[in-house]
Amino acid sequence: MALRLALKVIIVALILILMIGPLVGIVLWSFARRWYWPSPIPQEFTLKFWLEVFEQGRVLDSLVLSVTVALITVAFSLALALPAAYGFARYKLPMERVLLILFLMPQAFPQLPVFINLASIFGRIGLRGNMWGIILAHTMASLVFSLWIITATFKSIPLELEQAAQNLGASRFKVFWTITFPLAIPGLIAGSIFVFLWSMGEFTAAFFIGAPFIQTAPVLMYTASMGYNMQIASVISIILIVPSLLFMILIERYLKAEYISGLGG
């Protein structure tokens, strides 16, 4: 008994350290004036960097840009994935697996060459230094998350639930909006959370397509940490967590908790 309890405590502690540990480091860094090895906490604390970040408008600007890009990306990604996923789930498509894996391609190769190449194409058609260029790149690369998750969700909805509605006189369209879509909401939520978080944190595409004209938050953070300003980078990264947390809280609040819990089953 005691051994099992000890084992549980150790496992929970390890998980906490792995998940919370990096966050603690970042929070400490954001308040540190001096922090030299091997001290476990900074030698001197300061609020200077937080003030600095808020005095410069560009942090807030980049945050607004990041959230805007992420929200529009979610909308595009869902709009494209929804009909495609329904097709994958309900019809026998030739080479279904191959097609599904094709959507993984933008994520399967190293991001750097993929997005540098995309940036040069976008440059020729005037999408560089442009928010819509980043949105397009994000939509393309994140489509795999929404498509795979929503396809799996549609597949998990028994065909008979749709047939029962059809049997009572509902057209295909009506069946989708009254039966399939409401039942797929947990999957849609999961898909949008994935896409939103991925877009918020995405650096490579945002950097090569947007910079130097527009900077999303991760790009700004990169610029700051390249100047060896660990503190500014930490402050931005903490601020960057906020929209993601808000997004998840909103979803949890306004779309019933039972849908989220339905994700497990």
């Binding site: 639930l161 047939q163 029962a164 059809q166 049997n167």
Partner: protein, 346 residues
Amino acid sequence: MSVAVLECVNLKKYYGHVRALDDVSFTIEGSELLAVIGPSGSGKTTLLRSVAGFVRLDSGRIYLHGQDITDLAPEKRDVAMVFQNYALWPHMTVFENIAYGLKIKRIDKAKIREKVEWALKFLGLEGLADRKPSQLSGGQQQRVALARAIVVEPKLLLLDEPLSNLDAKIRLRIRFELKALQQKLGIPTLYVTHDQEEALSIADRVIIIHNGKILQVGTPEEIYRNPSNLFVADFVGVNTIIKVPVKNGVAKIGNVEKRIPNQQKIATVVIRADEVILSTNKNVESGPEDLVLTGVIRGRLYLGSKYRYEMEVDGVNEPVFINHGSDVETGTEVKVVVPKGSYFIF
């Protein structure tokens, strides 16, 4: 002559080499309950789904009140189906589930409420209107599925093994409720099941289907009393099957001889094990067409209301099993009388 409610003509459906429906024709008349029975994989579900429009036939026509519906989309057919696992929508309440078909028909709200409340009452579901399907018992779910189907007043009701997901006790009760309900409403019904007892007890007429072919059509009594072949005889009763050799075109068992017209070498005697008379009295009375077997009891099993006996019958090489209420010791010499109509030789 009046037009049949449902008329199926030469339905054919092959899945590769498997014949799910092999030239199936039948009709449903008036407000009868027609049961289709057969073992799993016999094609009965394919038959039901093709009437609902979920299976595309290779050939054949389906007429509903004389109208050809073969190529009509499922939503335009005006037949209501109760699915085997009910297919209730988990995101809707009981009320919303039942009201769905009426809403699709754009009936006004007050009328919908009235009809749904009638259906809830009719099926004894009062007070459950606001529950979600997951909060209902199996029997209640089944009744909601029925309510959802009958509330739209379909021309034909399709039931796909509606009782198979219920436990045995409830199943018996609901079987009678279902029959009473169908008679009260007068909705013609096509009922698919693998349970012969269920089908025989509630159907007006029964179709027995095997490997996509109809083997026999008739009232439950006709089918039970006059099975047209070995498969039907075995399928519709708790039976004892005895193989006997055919000599010079004649099969002989006990006192009975039967001409076997074709070249088969072995005939099969099917006995309804529950309908025999077992006696230790050598002079027990028997009619001229009854089958009389003599032999010795070799073993017995107590089954509660009766015993199951293993008997060694004179002139038969294999053990014969019969059921009887009287208490007879192992080793006793007995006489078994199988009344005419309780045994068949094929």
